[in-house]
């Protein structure tokens, strides 16, 4: 079930863990890259590569939670599975709140780990697809004229009160002209209704 594009990124300061875990995962057909510390991983990772991050919680200097926070801040969406030698409840709660796939205590059952990795991969693939769609929407949205973008934003921001009349009054143009722009927007974005426009604009964060 491996995907050539998906990689398991293993970050652990323990040499024995890195080597044994990497070998076992590789034997099960996973693409594995290992890093000795959070800093080393950040240096190498650019956010484009997909897969999952297998992250040791307790490490000197930057620990697993800090790396997670750092990734979130950078906008990296790669799913994270924590592994810990002495994981406590508070740390696991904190990690899970921040969006971790799971918080596994060492030593873990291999099946559990594989299930987690597969779940993470599914999430990664979905995320990848969503990103693709969003990128396409952004490209379509980029084709709109400035006036059309302006009218689309007004339609989304106040969907219950966006008659052509209202928009025209706001922009000092005639309702007919507004109607014309509306048709052009739906056509260019390849959508059928204003409702759909609102939906995709929120999902793709078009107006951020």
């Amino acid at each position: 079930m491996s995907d050539a594009n998906l990689t398991v990124f293993l970050v652990d300061d323990d040499e024995d863990i890195r080597s044994s875990l990497a070998r076992a995962l590789a034997k099960r057909g996973f693409e594995v890259e290992t890093y000795v510390s959070a800093e080393a991983f950040l240096e190498d990772y650019d956010g484009e590569q997909s897969g999952c991050l297998l992250l040791d919680y307790g490490m000197p200097r930057m620990n697993g939670l800090e790396l997670q926070n750092h990734m979130i801040k950078k906008g990296f969406s790669i799913p994270i599975i924590f592994i810990t030698g002495h994981g406590g409840v508070p740390e696991s709660v904190q990690a899970m709140k921040a969006g971790a796939i799971d918080f596994l205590e060492k030593p873990f059952r291999q099946k559990t780990l594989i299930d987690c990795i597969n779940g993470a991969f599914e999430k990664a693939i979905t995320a990848q697809q969503n990103e693709k769609k969003t990128r396409e929407l952004h490209i379509k949205f980029a084709r709109l004229t400035e006036r059309e973008k302006e009218i689309a934003q007004l339609m989304v921001s106040n969907s219950s009160n966006t008659t052509s009349k209202d928009i025209g009054r706001q922009l000092n143009i005639s309702p007919r002209t507004v109607d014309h722009h509306r048709a052009r927007i739906l056509e260019k974005m390849n959508i059928k209704s204003v409702t759909e426009l609102v939906d995709i604009s929120l999902r793709a964060n078009l107006f951020s």
């Binding site: 323990d14 024995d16 863990i17 044994s20 034997k27 030698g85 002495h86 508070p90 291999q110």
Partner: protein, 777 residues
């Protein structure tokens, strides 16, 4: 009994002069009387001698009879038969001797010539008896001074015979002059005495006896003329006690039953004074004495003195007796003496009064001074007011006393103010009853009772029931005179228990008598509570340290063991995967590898169970004041810093409260500070300084613990368990501390970049304001 100065002065001045006056009076009283009595005695003696000499002189002519007898013999007048010649000779002799009453001569023949004084018809009468050969005739002749005959006659009835008379017989037998006892002359009825001398012829033949009658009434006349005082008398006694001479001649003659006149005996004379004077000496019929006798007697209330003396150097066996009332001599002086005594008494009274007055005058300044001292002591007069006029000694003494009083008042005022204004509670307590005698307002504040309430209470009333032995201890301390200094529990008026440090000592007066105990009282309740908190923290910490040690060891072991166990399971998984790739399946090897994996997991389960068990003791997080915790931690390590002479400073700005497990954080703080102390103590650093710094930083509080110790060996990983720089350490402290800090949401690290000192840092989560407590995050 103490006498006042006034009384002493009065007694001395009045008494002394009285004694002086009395002693002078008494002395003169005794001596003057004795002198006068001596004088009186010598006067009596003189009088006696005078009487004796007079009597002798009076009787002296009688001795001439011997001479006359001799001449009669020589002239042979007696031998002649011419009585006229004899008569004339006797007449002449009678004429020249006025004390003679008669002269006579009798011879062996019985002839007798007697010439005597007569009352008539002529002044002299002669009796001549002639007896020759039985022819006897008696003839009386009265003559004038010129020997002329006035009348003469014969008396034929006369039978007088001289040879029969005692005087004749005596003189004849003694052949010497003899004196008869005095007797009353038959003819003249007057007392007299007869001296007779024998007339012996040249051939030794006794011719006759010549006799002389001497009237001794003249001696009485002489005696009556002697002045002996006013009432004194001299009398002369014969040897048989007859009074033969007396100032009153009438008294000496008495008539006996036969009508014969006799001398009155001293025992019967009608002169009671004379009887009293000599009664004592007349024991027998013989009253002669050998020597002069002085005596004293009383009669009719008067005292007499008397002297008896013999008729010395004389043939006469007479006794001269002189007596006189004492008062005749010393009466005047007695009167004078009585007068003097009255005068002396008067003088004594006057001078006594003067003495009292003088004493009063001398004493007045002292009395005024005493009265003033009384007023000063009652506070009615100030001791600095002017003194009444008094003596310089008293003024000096007063000055000293005033100074003393002023000093004492100042010290009393100071004591009172100290008592009142003291910052601590103060009380005076009766050492016997334990009652409060005096309290200050601070004590009221401490105990909650008002002063009036406290003054009705005893020290024992405010004791905590569980500390009831405190009072006995207090009593012992106070009575044994050592300082009582105890921190004990007491009951406040509102019923709460308060801790008081009571320090009490016994105050004694100058005689060593206990006055009261002075107690100073400090409320140490806050301090005690704080101490209790610190003790609690210390207790909790040591408990926590034990529990945490196990937990941390378990946790650390779990981590250390879980890593290799993980590696084992991964390697078993890899081996199984490798085995599955083989063309010929090896079920036995697969089974072995699976079992290997399972056993590794079983080990992990055991570790997890152990850790889970220990984890139950992990504390609850709260919001607390870190500043207070640091201060308490510093007090916990104070013995060690003192021991090593290390200074610890705590610097902080206004930091917010933090969230965490207070006891765990305390453990970390103490651990880091102890490390710092050990780092300094193990080295040779000059400056022994530890700084604890707390700062607020972006949602966290940073705590630095810096020391001037030996620093950190860079080869040692500080936070790895079982690695240590300390010879006796286990290398767990920092590892545990880091685990604790991290468990509390913070971090702990060693600052490598800061090289000035060794600096350990850790962070704690700040608490949002108004958030008092948190449960598990």
């Amino acid at each position: 009994m103490k006498l006042s100065l006034g009384a002493i002065l009065a007694i001395c001045l009045a008494g002394l002069q009285l004694i002086a006056v009395l002693s002078v009076v008494l002395s003169s009283y005794v001596t003057s009387e004795r002198v006068l009595l001596d004088h009186a005695r010598s006067l009596l003696s003189d009088l006696g001698i005078n009487a004796i000499e007079h009597s002798k002189g009076f009787l002296k002519p009688a001795r001439g009879t011997a001479e006359l007898a001799k001449r009669l013999a020589e002239n042979e007048i007696v031998a002649s038969d011419n009585p006229e010649i004899l008569e004339k000779l006797l007449f002449q002799n009678l004429q020249i001797s006025p004390q003679f009453s008669g002269l006579y001569y009798g011879d062996e023949t019985g002839s007798f010539v007697y010439v005597m004084r007569s009352k008539g018809p002529g002044p002299y009468r002669t009796k001549i008896i002639t007896n020759s050969k039985g022819d006897r005739s008696t003839k009386f002749i009265w003559r004038n001074e010129d020997y002329s005959i006035v009348e003469s006659r014969f008396d034929a009835t006369d039978t007088f015979d001289p040879r029969e008379r005692p005087w004749y017989k005596n003189a004849l037998s003694t052949r010497n002059i003899i004196w008869t006892d005095p007797y009353i002359f038959f003819s003249s009825k007057k007392p007299g005495i007869t001296a007779a001398s024998p007339v012996i012829s040249s051939n030794g033949q006794l011719d006759g006896v010549i006799g002389v009658d001497i009237e001794i009434e003249a001696i009485s006349d002489f005696l009556s003329n002697l002045k002996i005082g006013n009432n004194g008398a001299v009398i002369i006694l014969n040897r048989n006690g007859d009074v033969i001479a007396h100032p009153n001649p009438a008294l000496i003659k008495i008539e006996d039953a036969d009508g014969v006149l006799q001398f009155a005996n001293i025992k019967e004379i009608s002169d009671p004074i004379a009887q009293a004077a000599f009664g004592n000496f007349i024991k027998t019929d013989d009253v002669t004495i050998a020597r002069e006798i002085n005596s004293k007697f009383k009669h009719a209330g008067d005292t007499y003195i008397s002297t008896l003396m013999p008729m010395a150097k004389s043939d006469l066996p007479w006794t001269i007796a002189v007596y006189v009332p004492e008062d005749d001599f010393i009466g005047g002086i007695k009167d004078n003496r009585a007068r003097n005594i009255w005068i002396a008494f008067a003088i004594a009274i006057i001078t006594g009064l003067l003495g009292l007055k003088l004493a009063d005058r001398i004493n007045k300044p002292v009395r005024d001074f005493a009265a003033r001292a009384e007023l000063v002591s009652k506070g009615k007069v100030s001791s600095s007011d002017d003194l009444p006029k008094t003596y310089p000694e008293l003024e000096e003494a007063n000055e000293t006393l005033v100074h003393e009083i002023v000093q004492r008042k100042i010290s009393e005022r100071e004591y009172g103010q100290t008592f009142k204004l003291a910052s601590r509670g103060m009380a005076e307590i009766s050492p016997n009853t334990g009652r409060f005698i005096r309290v200050n307002s601070q004590l009221e504040d401490i105990l909650g009772f008002t002063a009036d309430e406290l003054l009705g209470m005893r020290f024992s009333d405010i004791l905590h029931p569980d500390d009831s032995d405190t009072y006995a201890f207090f009593q012992d301390a106070v009575h044994e005179d050592y300082e009582y200094n105890q921190e004990k529990r007491y009951i406040h008026k509102d019923g709460t228990t308060i801790w008081l440090r009571v320090n009490a000592i016994l105050i004694r007066d100058e005689h060593g008598k206990p006055l009261h105990a002075v107690a100073t009282v400090d409320d140490v309740t806050t301090q005690k509570v704080s101490e209790a908190k610190i003790n609690g923290l210390s207790r909790d910490l040591s408990h926590f340290a034990r529990v945490n040690m196990m937990g941390q060891m378990a946790s650390g072991l779990a981590h250390e063991l879980n890593q290799p166990l993980t590696a084992i399971t991964q390697n078993a998984d890899a081996a199984l995967s490798t085995l599955a790739e083989q063309t010929e399946p090896n079920s036995e090897l697969s089974e072995i590898l699976t079992e290997l994996d399972q056993q590794a997991h079983r080990g992990a389960d055991i570790i997890r169970a152990l850790r889970g068990f220990v984890r139950k003791d992990e504390g609850i997080k709260t919001v607390f004041d870190l500043t207070e915790l640091v201060e308490q931690a510093l007090r916990l390590v104070q013995p060690e810093t003192t021991e090593h002479d290390i200074t610890i400073d705590f610097k902080t700005d206004d930091i917010p409260n933090v969230i965490g497990n207070r006891i765990q954080i305390a453990q970390v703080l103490v651990n880091l500070i102890r490390n710092a102390i050990e780092a300094i103590a193990s080295g040779e650093t000059g400056v022994k300084q530890i700084d604890v710094i707390a700062k607020s930083n972006n949602g966290f509080v940073e705590i630095f613990v810096e020391d001037t110790g030996t620093g950190i060996n860079p080869d040692i990983n500080l936070f790895t368990q079982f690695e240590t720089t300390k010879s006796d350490g286990m290398g767990l402290g920092l590892s545990f501390s880091r685990s604790i800090v991290e468990a509390n949401g913070g971090k702990l690290w060693y600052d490598l970049e800061y090289t000035e000192k060794s600096r350990f840092c850790f962070t704690l989560v700040s608490s949002p304001k108004n958030q008092e407590a948190l449960s598990n995050v």
